[in-house]
C-alpha cells in the first residue's frame, strides 16, 4: 500500500488540537520540518512528548501550540538554555505550562510500556529522588518475589508520533542508522504514526538489508519525503548539524519578541519546508557537508 503523502496533508490528516504528540530523535534524525509544519497550521493545546528538548520545543511554545510538555531534559543540548521554556516554567510567562517530568530512563520506560500495551513499566532508579515525590504519576507496586516495592511509570501512548529517518520505501518500511534514540518505541506507542524521511527509496534497497528496518510498514500511517527535514540536527550519512543556529537560538530566545519575530519570518512567512530552506541561502548546507564512510556489506544469502 502506497502511504506516501505531502507533509502538509499528513499533519492536517493525523493531528488534532488537544492531541498528545511525540516528536522523538535524540540530537539526530529529529522531525524538525514536521514541528515547523505544526506551527504553520496553527495547532493549539497540544501536549508535546520529547525526551530531550531542543529548539523546536522553544519554537512550538513561542507559537502557542503547547499546553503541556512531557520530558526528561529541558536544555538546548550543550548550546545553552531554552528561554521560552524557562519563561513558561519559572514565571508562567505568558501562561503556565503543564510539565510532566521524568528522567531519560523513565521516558524510555513510558514509551516501552506504551509500545507494549502494558499499563506501566517498573523502573529501579527512582528511590529517594524528589522527582518521584513531585510527580504523582510515578507510583510503585509490591514485588511478589519478595524484594522491596518498586517504582513504576505509566504507559505513554501519544495520539500521534512523528519520527524522522534516513529512508523508507513507499509502504513505510523505515530504515535508520547512527544514533537511534527511542524512535522504534515511540513509533509503536503512537496511536497514529507519521514518518518523515530524507528520501523514499526503491523497496529493493530496503529489502537488501531487512535488519536495518527500525519500524515495519504496518505501523506507519504516512511516509513523507522531507529532505533536510532534521536541520539544524544532523542525519548520519546525509548532513551535519548546525551548531551555530542552535547557539544563536539560545541567545535570540532570551527576548520573547525576537522569538515571535523569528517565527513570523521563518515559519509563518514560509509556505513549506522548501521555502524555509530557501531562506537559509543556497550555500547554507555547504557547511554541513559530510565525508562518505560506507558500511561493509553483509551477506544475507540463504538457500537458493
Amino acid at each position: 500500500m502506497d502511504k506516501t503523502m505531502g507533509l502538509r496533508q499528513a499533519i492536517s490528516t493525523y493531528l488534532s488540537d488537544g492531541d498528545t504528540v511525540a516528536l522523538e530523535g535524540f540530537g539526530h534524525i529529529v522531525p524538525v520540518a514536521a514541528a515547523h509544519e505544526i506551527i504553520r497550521q496553527g495547532f493549539t493545546d497540544l501536549v508535546l512528548a520529547r525526551m530531550s528538548c531542543d529548539v523546536i520545543v522553544d519554537q512550538m511554545l513561542g507559537a502557542n501550540c503547547l499546553k503541556g510538555l512531557i520530558s526528561s531534559f529541558i536544555a538546548n543540548s550543550s548550546a545553552g538554555s531554552l528561554h521560552e521554556l524557562r519563561r513558561r516554567i519559572e514565571k508562567s510567562d505568558p501562561e503556565p505550562l503543564w510539565f510532566d517530568e521524568y528522567s531519560h530512563g523513565g521516558m524510555v520506560a513510558r514509551y516501552q510500556a506504551g509500545a507494549s500495551k502494558l499499563p506501566f513499566q517498573p523502573i529501579a532508579s527512582y528511590r529517594g529522588s524528589d522527582l518521584a515525590a513531585k510527580n504523582p504519576r510515578i507510583r510503585s507496586v509490591p514485588d511478589p518475589y519478595g524484594g522491596s516495592d518498586i517504582h513504576v511509570v505509566p504507559a505513554l501512548n501519544p495520539d500521534l508520533t512523528i519520527i524522522h529517518a534516513q529512508r523508507a520505501d513507499i509502504h513505510g518500511n523505515v530504515q535508520a542508522w547512527g544514533m537511534l534514540g527511542i524512535q522504534t518505541e515511540a513509533a509503536f506507542a503512537g496511536r497514529r504514526l507519521i514518518v518523515t524521511v530524507e528520501e523514499i527509496v526503491d523497496e529493493a534497497v530496503v529489502r537488501s538489508d531487512p535488519n536495518r528496518t527500525i519500524v515495519p510498514a504496518h505501523v506507519v500511517d504516512a511516509v513523507v519525503a522531507v529532505p533536510r527535514g532534521s536541520h539544524p540536527h544532523s542525519v548520519q550519512g546525509y548532513y551535519d548539524r548546525d551548531d551555530e543556529f542552535s547557539r544563536q537560538w539560545s541567545a535570540l530566545a532570551r527576548d520573547a519578541a525576537a522569538v515571535q519575530n523569528w517565527l513570523e519570518i521563518n515559519i509563518r512567512g514560509t509556505s513549506d519546508h522548501d521555502e524555509f530552506l530557501a531562506t537559509l541561502g543556497s550555500d547554507h548546507f555547504e557547511r554541513m557537508a559530510i565525508h562518505d564512510a560506507y558500511s561493509t556489506p553483509v551477506n544475507y544469502g540463504g538457500r537458493a
Binding site: S71, S103, H104, G105, G128, S129, L131, D149, M179, E185
Partner: protein
Amino acid sequence: MTLSAHDTTETRSRDELSETTSSEAAGDEVTSSELLTVHSARALAGRNVVFAGHGLPTLAVSLAQHTVAPDIEIVYESGVTGARPPAMPRSISDSILVPGAASVMPMTHLFNYVLQGQRIDVGFLGAAQVDKYGNLNSTLIGENWEHPDSRLPGSGGAIEAMAGAAEIFLVMRRHTPRTFVESLDFVTSPGPKKAAEAAVGSMPAGAGVTHVITDMGLMTRFAQDEELTLTAVHPGVDPAEVVRQTGWSLQVSPDLETTLPPTPGELALLRETLDPARIYLR
C-alpha cells in the same frame, strides 16, 4: 543527559573554559579544564566501563586509555560505545561519534540493559548542587518547585547513572558554598544513603559519588553513611579555604595530600594528541 561539568548553566561554562588554575606548581599555562581532566583520568585506574558526557569526561577517559587504564571503554548516553571520533565531539549526540564506533545501541538497551543493568563501573556526572553525602541537584534552584528561581536541565540520564553505576565521579568546576551545600534545593539524583531513607523503590546498585574533582582539590567517600572527605588539595590551595567554600562542615582527612600537578607527558597527550584543536582545552 549526562551533565558535563559545564552543562548545568550556559553562562558559567564559557568563562570557566578559559579560566586558568591558580596553581603555581602546575605552571600558569595549565588551564582549569586540563587540571580537572588530568585528575579525573588518574582516578579511573582499574576501571573498565565508563558512562560519560562529552568534553572533560571524554578527554579524561581518552587520557586514561593512554595512561592508567589502557582497556577502559566509554559508553555515551546516545548509545555509542567504542567511539573513535576524528575530532572532539560537541555533545553526546554528535554524529561524529558514530563512524568507526564499535556499537550504537538503541535507548532501550542503553538505559535498561547497560545503566539499570549495572554494566557501568564509573559514571561521570556534573551538578548544580551537591551535599555532603553526594546527593545531586540538576533540576532547579529555588524554594518553589513549581516556579523555581532558575530552572535547570533536569535529570536526563543522571538518575539512572547514579542508581546503576558502581561509582559516580563528580566534576565540579567551581567549589563554592552555593554549589557545595548543606541542603539541596531539589534531590535529582540521590545517593544510597538518601535512597535508603526513602519508603519505596529499589535500592541503588552502586556506591553513589565516590570521587569529587574540583578546582580546589579532591574529595572521596566510599561507604553509604560516609560523608565526603577532603583528601587532597591542588598545589597552593589552603585547606582552610576549601572548608570555608563548603556549605557544610567539611571533613578533612588527617592524611591530607597535595595533588601532583599534571605531568608534561599528560599535558602533551592532551594538547598534542587528544585535543590538538583545543576545542575543549581552551
